[in-house]
Amino acid sequence: MSLSFVDAYISCFITGLGSYMAAGDFTTLASMYTLFSRVGGITVLCAAFRQHIRVGFFAFLPPRPDYDVYYLDIGGGNRQGC
């Protein structure tokens, strides 16, 4: 499966690691790990994994309005339609 870093980043925070873990989709998880490691994003992925194990994924998300801002920000301002 081919994932860009932004796609992987967004997938991680929107869909959550839990859905991939529940589905046993280790290929996608491994792709995400590879992509995150290339840009020094392992800490983020690691935090999402820890939070998923501890309290479930959705508790990790900030309130929706902040999340929207964050989402636009990681796109470098080029994802205004999202």
Partner: protein, 154 residues
Amino acid sequence: MEEIVKDVNNDDDMVQRLLDLKSAADTTISTAFLANKINASETSAGTKIPDSEFVYSLKDAFTSGFRARRNKPAEMIAKFLDKAMRKGQGSSTDAEFQALLDSVLALYRYTDDKDVFRTFYHRSLAKRLLLEKSASIDFEASMLKKLKEGTCPT
């Protein structure tokens, strides 16, 4: 994790659910989150090992998850072991049964309430031995040895 620990209505299934979660997390780490081995020799170059950051994260998540509810998880782990020791290995092999016991002990290592676990475990052990309800003395001895050596602070 916290959802499982705090689920008062399903206390009886708590340990099995935690084992399932731990197993899924372990599988994820050992399958998907693999880092290149540092200082690998030429013969083992390219060898991948589970990323230690994720291993520590898992440990941290379980430790803090157990803190969501005091005493009960440790009590349920002891009771789960009591049931397993009374029931015995059944149709499973020695290695499979030992692996189950080891995985439960792995959960015990994450709890802060080790004294609670010891209280319940020792009480149930005494009952099993006095009433001759234990399925295997060998496994009892093995468990005591592991508790004494590796996981029990006293």
